[in-house]
Symmetry: C2
Subunit: 277 residues, 2 copies
Amino acid sequence: MSQTNLRESSLSEFESAIAVTRHSESAFTAEVDGDWSVAGAVNGGYLLGIIAQTLRLNSPNAPDPLVLSTYYVGPSQGGVADITTRMIREGRSSATFAVDLAQSGAPKITALATMGNLAGLPEDVATTAIPPELPEPDQCINVAEAPGDFVKSAPLIKRYDIRLDPDTAGFAAGRPSGRGLLQGWIRLADGTEPDALSLLAFLDAFPPVMFDLGHFGWAPTMELTAHLRAVPAPGWIKVKLYTRNIAGGMFEEDCELWDSAGRLVAQSRQLARQPRG
Amino acid sequence: MSQTNLRESSLSEFESAIAVTRHSESAFTAEVDGDWSVAGAVNGGYLLGIIAQTLRLNSPNAPDPLVLSTYYVGPSQGGVADITTRMIREGRSSATFAVDLAQSGAPKITALATMGNLAGLPEDVATTAIPPELPEPDQCINVAEAPGDFVKSAPLIKRYDIRLDPDTAGFAAGRPSGRGLLQGWIRLADGTEPDALSLLAFLDAFPPVMFDLGHFGWAPTMELTAHLRAVPAPGWIKVKLYTRNIAGGMFEEDCELWDSAGRLVAQSRQLARQPRG
């Protein structure tokens, strides 16, 4: 546990880890928590939480990212991050911001977001997408029970409770399906119910979809755009991750998050570089 | 035809319309051409061309947007636009930039892009997505032959040669399918072969996918992220446009562009506000 977590123990582990300190209208710092790392780099989904938390301080009346586009221009490490924001335009019920995050003077993230109020959106739903059919969580594969060396190199795994659908977890036994599909369940490991900001983290918390195609190397995200569409109901979140266009040394990875009420609460697409492995 | 088009008649209509003048390292102007408008607002896809052309001037060795995320914060009009760019990070073979476009001092677009060189990417393709099956272009519905009032309010239509698959064009006869799917063919009306920048325009050139759900009002784009994955082969481009998550007064619209060689050369997803109609 980092110092921040000890200081702010009334917060959940995730809330503590994305805490941001304001220094002026547009200047912030965060203590990036290395416990949210995989293979030596801080996880991109966790960093989305820091970006969104920073924007919340700028936008109290429109506290949720309706859409957030993040470009990862360098791998982040545990330690201080300097964050600057710039308001592009403020509307009646939404506002658009630019955000930059640097560590030791080196740019790590540049992002754009339109903030709004998810709780204030109209209730109409006409979604045609269908949630994935999954075995119950206790019938799925608990990622935290993966072989010890893997978990040691990926402390991120202990931040979540992830259960993979056995039908899409063949990669763990050396039998990737080749479909480019991973499905399963996720919740925060400390039992905190999902909210808008933890949804952002969930969008990039699963193993890379390329595992299901037999490519196990690191697949650095170039860009990830997330749409948040509703406040999630309490309970497990269903995750569906897939890729359909692997070409030119890059692939897209689409993620859907479904809440316990059966709503498609978040969608993301990222462009990533193909692992060399 | 605008003055710009007459001045630079060796260029295609699209190339002339996205011409940009450089005033300093980071300051540019463009003459936004009102002939690329629908219902009184300049088309977002055409504006992507202006953004990308500006970035090309900043990034001659990495001339193509591999990924471009654009936030439309106000409707653009024909006339001068002031564009500023900022380099975020330059890598070995790619560079990331921020771009802002304003008219008469009012912000209209803010964008991020990572530029690269499509022609220099590895040749490997492992795409699992399947191109749409379409009748030949001359068996499809020519949008330019739509009723006169419609074309009059949408001069954009004359910039393209768009042929809609009759199976997804029921909306034109008052019988939208309700699937949230539009498919067809596109090319530039003046016969110019497709390139990286015209692909960007094609991603937002079709009628809104909400037409197939019986909603005919204007659906303003909040954000659009485009991935360019290959230089297109000459010939018609196949377009597939669909939506799966209509909720909270917003919907996502996914677009795929397939070239005549059967490659998925571009993908986009936008978040838009639901039409009131």
